[in-house]
């Protein structure tokens, strides 16, 4: 792995290196072009194969998709490559093969920035806020690519997550876990995305906060934005899902509607904890 080759030998000297905020993504290089590919679902990552840097492949021909007006949920064991698949759809890692299509265009060669411009919003699983920036600045950064007046969108986000309005001058890093997740989702909404991708938005939050977050996500979905979501709280997520994917070792193990998967005894036993 690349991290090994140029490793730091355990050095953590604060006078010479800044440990904060370093990225891990190996994104698609800027400069690629999209080309038309009509038909198919609204957003689809098809037969994706690839991994991080020079390491072994994590994804093996994995396909995930979401249609307009739907919620699609991805579940699966840890390390199955769910987050990796999401990142791949967003161009945060270079695919060896497979393609990503959005709204009738093949965007496989586009860099993440260009995908944002085409209306994709993504809330990663970890490190999904700018901790030292205020809540408001976090939202502004969400609107970075927008040239128009985004105050109205910000109002909408504040209406959706009222607590954020109270805390808008506070550094996001000082918020509690649940509030951070709201900031993260709010930031993604600021782009006014055509499709929203959420990677475990409820991870590590207490059951109470989780309920609240699910309610909000449903609300967003009701505004007509298709949602592609990874969830560990699989049973709860599949309840509200139109479509469900079970990913195992980088490939699709089961696919169906949320209800179907919940009803499948194999899936229940192996992935949903019985």
């Amino acid at each position: 792995m690349s991290g090994e080759t140029y490793g730091d030998r355990g050095n953590k000297d604060r006078s010479i290196t800044n440990p904060a905020g370093m990225g891990t993504a190996m994104p698609v290089k800027p400069g690629g072009h999209a080309h038309p590919a009509p038909g198919g679902p609204f957003l689809i990552g098809e037969a994706m194969t690839g991994g991080y840097g020079k390491g072994a492949d994590i994804l093996h021909g994995c396909t995930i998709a979401v249609e307009r007006g739907e919620i699609a949920v991805i579940v699966g064991p840890n390390g199955a490559g769910k987050s990796t698949a999401m990142k791949a759809v967003f161009g945060m890692l270079d695919l060896r093969s497979g393609s990503v299509r959005l709204d009738g265009e093949d965007i496989t060669a586009l860099s993440p920035q260009d995908r944002v411009k085409r209306g994709m919003g993504f809330v990663p699983q970890v490190r999904n806020i700018f901790p030292s920036m205020t809540v408001e600045e976090n939202l502004e950064m969400g609107a970075f690519i927008r040239k128009d007046d985004f105050r109205q969108t910000m109002e909408q986000v504040y209406t959706l997550f009222p607590i954020l309005r109270d805390k808008r001058k506070q550094a996001a890093g000082e918020l509690s876990g649940g509030q951070r997740q709201q900031v993260a989702v709010g930031r993604a909404l600021m782009t006014r995305p055509k499709v929203l991708m959420l990677d475990e938005p409820t991870a590590g939050v207490s059951p109470i906060v989780m309920d609240e977050l699910f309610d909000r996500i449903l609300e967003v979905a009701r505004t007509g934005i298709p949602i592609l979501m990874v969830e560990q709280n699989a049973r709860q997520a599949l309840e509200i899902a139109d479509k469900g994917y079970v990913l195992v070792q980088g490939g699709n193990a089961f696919t169906g509607t949320g209800k179907e998967l919940l009803a499948d005894p194999d899936v229940r036993r192996s992935f949903l904890g019985g």
Partner: protein, 336 residues
């Protein structure tokens, strides 16, 4: 007892020089701190970047002087600063493209970049000397003093003089303007905010549509500007010599770290802390006290805490004490 003279003596030998020196260090430390915050490593080549930028400005100044251009009382070199900045920008951007970018793409740990910057330091060192040679170069012109010690004495009738050099005033003013501009830029503009976002969370910045390469480029451009401005002001106030610029690295680092590395406000504060401790603690207080105290109590000795040989030791000890009590420097918390 003569408070006025006491104060003037103190101002002349401690406050004014330390303010100017502090501003010079602060400008240097700003560059270091910006790279630390955004590119995440301490740039050992910063001193030599300053030397290169200044060298370009010196060459341009000579050209202007030869062409008969002058700024009247102000040094012509001010006009040459843009050329210097351009020169420095070309150098650092070329370096970034040829060297640093590769390691960024590899996700190399920041400490690797530190070591790489050592290599760059060696190379710049050679390059600057290759072009302009190792000698001392004087490129200051214009009015030397805002007010000279002699004029001050004549004006006020005091025994002590107070001299303020044009370059000293310029340094402080330019430092203030630069810092305000930088703050405005980082906190109010879109590009500035995107730089802070990148420094906070690189991956998320990417997800927000921020182009990381653009952030890096802008950072280098600002660093080139800061380095050149710092270098030219320093060179005007003292003189330009490549070796000295390498030597500046240590106090600059100390300043950045005392202040809280990664924090621009800290860089400013750190610059002044280092400068005032170097100049103040090794100052011989005899003259001041002779004026200040009643005659009967005038000191015999020099009343010097430490000989000037150890001036750097003093600032270093202060650095360690600050870090003991405030592990993240004077301005902890948010960086950039």
């Amino acid at each position: 007892m003569d408070f006025l003279n006491a104060f003037v003596a103190l101002a002349n030998f401690v406050i004014v020089p330390a303010l100017a020196y502090g501003s010079q260090l602060a400008l240097g430390a700003l560059g270091v701190t910006l790279i630390y915050a955004i590119l995440r490593f301490s740039n050992f080549a910063h001193g030599d970047t300053m030397a290169w930028g200044t060298m370009c400005a010196v060459l341009a100044t000579w050209g202007l002087q030869a062409a008969g251009v002058s700024l009247g009382p102000l040094p012509t070199a001010l006009l040459a600063i843009p050329v210097g900045i351009a020169g420095a920008a070309v150098l650092v951007l070329a370096t970034d493209r040829v060297v640093y970018r590769f390691y960024r793409a590899q996700k190399a740990k920041p400490v690797i970049l530190v070591i790489v910057s050592m290599g760059i330091m060696f190379v710049y060192n050679g390059l600057t000397r290759f072009v302009i040679g190792p000698d001392d170069q004087n490129f200051a012109d214009g009015e030397r003093f805002l007010i000279s010690a002699r004029d001050f004495k004549a004006m006020t009738g005091l025994d002590e003089g107070l001299a303020i050099k044009t370059t000293q005033a310029l340094t402080v003013v330019v430092a203030l303007i630069t810092v305000s501009l930088l703050f405005w830029f980082l906190n109010r503009t879109r590009t500035g905010k995107s730089m802070r976002a990148y420094s906070d969370n690189e991956d998320l910045a990417l997800l927000s549509g921020i182009n990381p390469e653009r952030v890096v480029t802008v950072t280098w451009l600002i660093v080139a500007a800061l380095a050149t401005i710092a270098g030219v002001l320093y060179g005007l106030d003292k003189s330009f010599k490549p070796f000295t610029y390498f030597q500046l690295l240590l106090p600059i680092f100390a300043a950045a770290i005392v202040g809280g590395i990664g924090n621009p406000l800290g860089a400013i504060a750190g610059g002044f802390v280092i400068a005032f401790s170097e100049v103040g603690i090794t100052y011989a207080w005899k003259k001041f006290l002779t004026y200040f105290l009643p005659e009967s109590m005038a000191p015999d000795g020099l009343v010097q805490l430490l000989s000037t040989d150890y001036k750097f030791a003093v600032s270093f000890v202060i650095l360690v004490i600050v870090l003991l009590f405030r592990p993240t420097g004077l301005f902890k918390g948010q960086t950039i």
